[in-house]
Every structure is written in structure tokens, then in C-alpha cells.
Subunit: 147 residues, 4 copies
């Protein structure tokens, strides 16, 4: 679901339920699961923006490997609870794109974690590539020089 | 480590330690982790046989997608314990190969699980391919018609 | 979504999208991912039957570790495609329960994989336990002696 | 393997091979796999320091959930290659511990990624706890106020 961001930047929401194998013996979602949820968030945001990631890879031959990842964990997510992932496409500069995320308890909106990823657009030869036109367009007037 | 099998079939052993994210809230290794350990077992057996799986894929363009998987779980594997995976290449017929596995507690040898996988050799176009020559050779006098 | 089964056994349907980390270098969903999807299927079926699995664990102290797993893979599932998981609770005998699954391409209904799991109801002490009353009831007239 | 750190802080090394399910359709290790490798690194460092993590949890009832995670990715890790994880326990202050990691290509020593995690020592009730004595001791003269 595409939602307006206060500063006019593309943002979207999706939900996920904590899966059993995503939990660990501590009884809550393992911290690496959040990297997967962040990825679900940006997948759905790109789809909502009309640029499904699979098509970017398959049709345009552009990959977005993660160059940086950061996460801050506030509260544990427990088995089977529904979490709401909000994803913002906050900036793009040349071949780099930055997304920011929050993971909240669905319903109460309690913040569980926040984080970001920075991606470098590259071709299958791993050399830098320009952002796909559709994605660049959707960034519109977003503050493109902030990355 | 390549070990002789009573019936002269290729067999090998490797070990793995149960990783934290492989455990779940039940406090032991999640059942899907065993499919990953089985895969570690056949990866090391293929390497020991002189046919590293990565090379089969990259040089010969042959893939071995799993066509069947079966596992029986006896006892739980707990966090950080070392398990010993024994892998047997029990048969090959045309484009199909069958591996069998046991997962035991390293040290005591207590059986934790056993299982099998059947693989179909295919090309990148998903069409059946003959087994790589090196692998077929290493099967030697193994009972190739039993698959 | 709870759906009627031809033989009156509890059955349900849910969907999942193939996640990026569920794919492997072969370009399709890794075979261990199906064990996770089967688990999603039975989680949703148990919820639909009024016995959420988390509550069975937390309130009744009953765990359902997997005792057996079987899967047959027909066609690959690719990144970002939606799969439909149909789960049937086919039998229960004493402390053992058997579920059967199909994974189909959502939309076309093309069969991707099928499988089963057998679970043993145990307490936190790993000793056999009777099925939770709610679950036993929901099995109703299902052929309970077939497991 | 425990190695001396230039500043006298505890540091250790371990290796891991990139597993097939750790790769994704981009053909290299998925970025979330590095969080798992970091965890392998600190597990082995804690073991080398005489404080196996499982024992800290089981005997002392102290958990170390991840409070912060950061990673910078330089070069892809490919299927079946061996990576060397170097882990440093860089600081501890009250109930917080910070580890830093590098992941290099084994053999060549080419840097693939670096990162850090910050952990909060808590009891099973999620309330802050002091560091286990053994761990605090092993930090010795490390710059404990830098966290």
C-alpha cells in the first residue's frame, strides 16, 4: 500500500507474520529476520511504484545489491504476531539508493525496530548502472542529493 | 572425509554445529535445517569424489534440483552441538541420483535423523541431462539400477 | 481460509510470495523453503480451526515437533511469484497427526510440489501428550485411524 | 582461534563456507547471511574466551539480544567459497557489549564485508543484567568505556 510521506517521498506499507523458523531459542524473531522484512518492505514499495524488482532484474538487467545495512532493535517480535513494515525511499544519487524502514507491532503501532539499507545499482557485470528510468521518475521531487 | 561403504558405494562424512538462527522457539534445531545439513553432506561428498558441485554447475552447466526429499526425525539437535552428517550416494539411473543421510550427535553417535534426496540432472534449460562423467565414474560399481 | 475436503477432513488454503532470500543461485526457491511453506499452511489451518498453534504451545504446553517430512518437487517456484498452499489434516492417532500439502502456482493452479508431515504431540518434557481437545474435536469424523 | 588484537582486546577467527541456501538468485550470498556469519564469529570468540554462549544462557540465564547491527558490503561472497570471520570484542559498558567483524576471502584476505553488533545483557525477564563475570574478566584491560 502506497502512502504519502510528509516530505513527498515515496513510502509504502506491508505486513508480515512472524514465522516459526524466524524465531530462535530466545523465543522471539532472530535479528537477521528483520533484514528479510526490510526486503519485503522495499519489494512491495517498488511494486506499488510500478517497478517490480523482479522486472528490474529480468528486463533491465539491473541488480540492487545491498551496500550498507543498519538496524536498531527496540522490542522483540514474537511468534505469529503480525508486524507492519513501513518503507521510505529517502534518496537516490547516481547509482545509489537509500531506503529507511520501521517495523511496528500491527494494531498497537509499538515500534519494534528501525533501519536502513543503501543499494548500488549495478549490471550483471557488477559495474555501476544508472537507476531504472521508472524508479528515477517515481522519486520525483524527493531530495535526491541526500544519500 | 571419504569413507568406505559396506557395499562399495561412495560415502562421506562431515560435521556442522547447530547455529543460533537454526534453532526455533521450541529450543532446538528447526526441522528445515536438516535439509540444509543434508545438502552440506552431499556437497562435501561430491567434493571428496573430485566433482565439486559448484564446478558441475559452472563448468558443465548441469544442475541437480531436488526432486524428492524425505526425513525422519528421532531426537532433537540443540544449539551449538556438533552433528555428524554421513552421506551415501546410493544409486544413479539415467539422469536421477539418490543420496541417503544420517545425522548423528558427534561423539556419542546417537542418531538424530535420517533421510534421503533424489535429484534430477538438468541443464539450465531444465531439460534432462546425463550425469557428469566424473560423477558417473565415481559411482563405479555401485548398484546403479536401484534408484 | 477453511475449505471443505471431499472426505470431510479439515483443510485450508493460504498464499505466500517467494521471497528473495528463499531463492538460491539456481534462480528459484530453494527446496528447504517448501518445508517453511508447509508450516505456514498448517499454521493457518490450525488458526482457521480455532486452535492457533502459538496458543497450543503457550497455554496447553503441547509442542508438535515434526517426526517425518516428505516432499516431491514438480516445477520450480520463481522469485516473487505467489504460491497457494493447501493443507489437509488427514489423520490423527493417539499423539500423532498427519498433514498433507500441495503448493500450486496461484492463478494457474499448476502443481509445484506436494508433501506431508507427521507430528508427535509432546510436552515440554518431550514425553507424549494427548492432542489438544480443540484439535481433536475439529478432526471430528475424519478417518482418525489412518495415520 | 584466539588471536591477539593490537590494542589488547579479545579477538578471534573462524571460517565458514558459503552454503547453497545462503545464496540467492543474484548468484551470491544474500546480505542477511552476513548477520549469521557475524554470529558465528562471536560464538567462536566467546567459546575461545571460555564463556560458551549456550552456557551463558543456560547456566547464568543471561541473554544477549542484538540491540544494533551494522554492515558494509564490499564484494560478493560466492557459493562454496570459504570466508574468514574475524571478531573483536571492542568494548563493554554496564550491560552493553560491542563486537566488530570483518569477513574476508580465505586465502587472499580480500575484504568482503565489515560490521558491528551491540548487545544488551538481559535476563529471561528482559530486564538488564550485569555481564557474566567470566566475560567481564576476559575483557580485562580492554577500553571498556568506549561503547
Amino acid at each position: 500500500m502506497l502512502i504519502p510521506d510528509a516530505e513527498g517521498r515515496p513510502a509504502g506499507r506491508t505486513t508480515a507474520r512472524v514465522r516459526y523458523p524466524e524465531t530462535d531459542r530466545m523465543g522471539m524473531a532472530h535479528h537477521a529476520s528483520y533484514a528479510v522484512w526490510f526486503e519485503l518492505g522495499r519489494t512491495e514499495l517498488l511494486r506499488d511504484l510500478g517497478c517490480p524488482y523482479g522486472e528490474i532484474e529480468d528486463r533491465e538487467g539491473i541488480l540492487f545489491p545491498v551496500a550498507e545495512l543498519g538496524a536498531t532493535y527496540r522490542r522483540p517480535a514474537v511468534y505469529d504476531e503480525e508486524v507492519r513494515i513501513t518503507t521510505r525511499l529517502v534518496s537516490a544519487r547516481g547509482a545509489r539508493v537509500r531506503f529507511e524502514y520501521t517495523v511496528e507491532r500491527e494494531g498497537s503501532g509499538v515500534l519494534l525496530a528501525s533501519g536502513f539499507t543503501v543499494h548500488a545499482a549495478v549490471g550483471r557485470d557488477r559495474r555501476p548502472r544508472r537507476l531504472p528510468a521508472g524508479l528515477a521518475r517515481s522519486l520525483g521531487d524527493a531530495p535526491r542529493e541526500r544519500a
